[in-house]
Amino acid sequence: MITVNIMSTVMDTLKTICLLSLLLALGLGLRPPASLAHHGWAWTTGENMTLEGVIKEVKLGNPHGVLKVDSGGTLWTVEVGQPWRNERAGLKDGDLVAGVTIRVIGEPASDSSDKRLKAERLFLGDREYVLYPDRD
């Protein structure tokens, strides 16, 4: 029957797609990413550092807010809070924008080649904004 032949061809095509996807998943997908980040603090050093620089790029919003900060010619990725955390800290729309000078206290990535910092608190001018009140 013609329908059966078509179904057979579809099944064979599918099998090929599935196998190719699996190969892709093994070869490409499961390679560890350049940097493990975001969830919790396991990827940080556990020690605070202070970073001062100028905000170059801003991406706020769920699931994570991220700033690019130029500090003495090095571009750092600074992880700030989700909208509710930033709001609780007292940050308003328009506070974190490109061109603003910022001082961040937080924990850097253990991998020192990854210029990434998770902010615990930050300063805009003299005003302090505390993202994680329970952390030092």
């Binding site: 099944m11 599918l14 797609i17 919003g61």
Partner: protein, 156 residues
């Protein structure tokens, strides 16, 4: 493509989810509920096809698990698309997500064609065919689950 992804990010629902605490949490919950149902149904179903629990009639088990898996998929896909819309441009560049979507596509196609061809309980398929289908299905869905989890560890 980039313009389309930017348009997705600019939709009002994406903007709402980007800023909302509990709205985003609710969509995230729905996505997890959906794939928990899907995986919870598809794994025992495929293990049965591979020969586990021979005393339980396949058709009885499938009458429960096939709709459960399909319902889970119908929750997980729209919720997943909403989560994607929040950062469409960033997410689309993640290799994990691209392969995950390919696996989901392959998993759905393989399920639909198998059921169309062999019936709802796959009663028309040979043992060899069933085992092959079960392996493909397990690979697709467990692979998609694993890659989905890895997305959280890939984004800048």
């Amino acid at each position: 493509m980039q313009a389309l992804l930017a348009a997705v990010e600019a939709t009002s629902i994406a903007q709402y989810l980007r800023a909302s605490r509990w709205g985003y949490a609710a969509v995230s919950f729905t996505h997890i509920l959906g794939f928990a149902l899907l995986i919870g149904a598809i794994v025992p179903l495929n293990l049965r096809l591979l020969g586990l629990w021979p005393a339980i009639r396949r058709s009885t088990l499938m009458r429960v698990l096939v709709p459960a898996a399909a319902f889970g998929l119908m929750l997980a896909v729209p919720a997943g698309l909403l989560l994607f819309s929040v950062k469409a441009q960033d997410y689309s560049s993640i290799g994990f997500l691209q392969v995950k979507l390919a696996l989901i596509g392959a998993g759905i196609l393989s399920a639909v064609t198998a059921h169309l061809r062999y019936g709802l309980a796959l009663e028309g398929a040979s043992e060899t065919r069933l085992r092959l289908h079960a392996l493909i299905s397990l690979g697709c869905w467990l692979g998609a689950l694993c890659l989905g989890r890895l997305i959280a560890f890939a984004l800048d």
